[in-house]
């Protein structure tokens, strides 16, 4: 059975897409079958793995609104074992268009059910919001991986996200687990980073994953070549840290 992990944080620019792409690629490098779902209208996960956003093809938008079966939208990527369910511009309208649809919060779960047995892991990259697209991802997922930058504004939003998870468990009766909080763009030279990291470890304990992702320019360069960092520069600190993070996630196993 596959494990579905949503990568979510409503704070913008904390490394959600970078984490979703590179954890997905690192899992695939372990001879696993992985599907990366891009549920962000910006489509960064789509271009970050080298897929051109093409309005001729089906995308997550068409799958959510029932215009195409998921099998028509999924594409292979340059990375062996890594498939993508791409986003395109249409997704901008999805939040409003889903408002009137029956069972609007489980549209993604229903779509993924039909392909779940073909993959070991499914990772969902979320937009920087607590909107219907993110709610769909959280309702489809077994667990949520929360990337966070060690800065003040990012710290502020984390309790809001935890409240949202509690509301999902209580009102939608969906037992979503916390896969973990991962510290990203970690710059050990600054006091701010160390202080915020301390605060997070004090508050969340072992929910803060051991693997820390350092700030590494290779991680910011790789998407402009449409490659996960391990295909761009496998010896970089960025690549090594995501390989390590994937190992830590694998060690959690699939059952909660």
């Amino acid at each position: 059975l596959s494990k579905i992990i949503a990568v979510s944080n409503q704070k913008g620019g904390v490394g959600k897409t970078t984490t979703a792409i590179n954890v997905a690629a690192s899992l695939a490098a372990n001879d696993l079958k992985v599907l990366l779902v891009d549920s962000d209208p910006q489509g960064n996960a789509t271009s970050g793995v080298g897929i051109r956003k093409d309005l001729e093809n089906s995308s997550l938008y068409h799958v959510l609104l029932g215009h195409a079966p998921i099998a028509d939208a999924v594409v292979a990527t340059e990375m062996e074992g890594l498939h993508l369910l791409p986003a395109d511009k249409n997704l901008v309208g999805a939040n409003l268009e889903m408002v009137g649809v029956n069972q609007r919060e489980t549209l993604l779960r229903a779509a993924l059910e039909t392909v779940r047995d073909q993959y070991d892991y499914i990772l969902i990259d979320c937009p920087p919001a607590l909107d219907l697209l993110t709610l769909n991802a959280l309702m489809a997922a077994d667990s949520v991986l929360v990337p966070i930058q060690c800065e003040f504004f990012a710290l502020e939003g984390i309790s809001e996200l935890m409240d949202t998870l509690d509301r999902i468990r209580a009102s939608f009766h969906h037992a979503i687990a916390l896969e973990g909080i991962v510290l990203t763009m970690y710059d050990e030279r600054t006091n701010l980073t160390r202080q915020v990291a301390n605060d997070l470890r004090e508050f969340f304990g072992t929910d803060v994953l051991k693997t820390v992702i350092p700030r590494s320019i290779k991680l910011a360069e790789a998407p402009s070549f449409g490659k996960p960092v391990m295909l761009y520069d496998v010896r970089s600190k960025g690549a090594e840290s995501y390989i390590q993070l994937a190992k830590e996630i694998l060690s959690h196993g699939k059952q909660e």
Copy 2:
């Protein structure tokens, strides 16, 4: 008459809030009356100027949905001449709640009309999305200031934002101008930054503002003290660059 400037970019973490707070504070330091509007449910602009988000008080949410007049929600800040229309958690639901309201895209414009004559400048901090909250800000604004990080994913989203502005001009007959594109977190040591900056200047010409905001840790530290950077460390590169940016915006004048 006051000038209303929206600070918007659907890409997350590019420095929208940091720019909105520090341009607003720098304008206020020029003996001008400035209102900062926090239209992001995260409420970072609110806490970034030291205002506690308190569910007892009125906020932008109550103003948009007609539960309170704007005068009840606006508060003074520690900075002389700088007022704030705060956000609170309720704002998370505003996008869905506004869907059914008449003239949903001009609710903010209507509210700001009633206080516009009390301020020289009104700055609106937008969430990282092209949603109804952002549409309200763009429909209320005379111009839009677009912060952008010089990285690949940020570059990708800029054409989407420009398309949105064209759609607003065409279908809502609202002549929103581009105040400018401001390069933020600029790190001149990396090739990626210089390459993306070149691409932007080639494509957008003089719409890319002369003032560039460098990466400066003081800008990331100031919000944890609830202060604009000029109250936290006025001699820092961060403070100086925003004082310079405010001067450049003042030189544009109020008429397009």
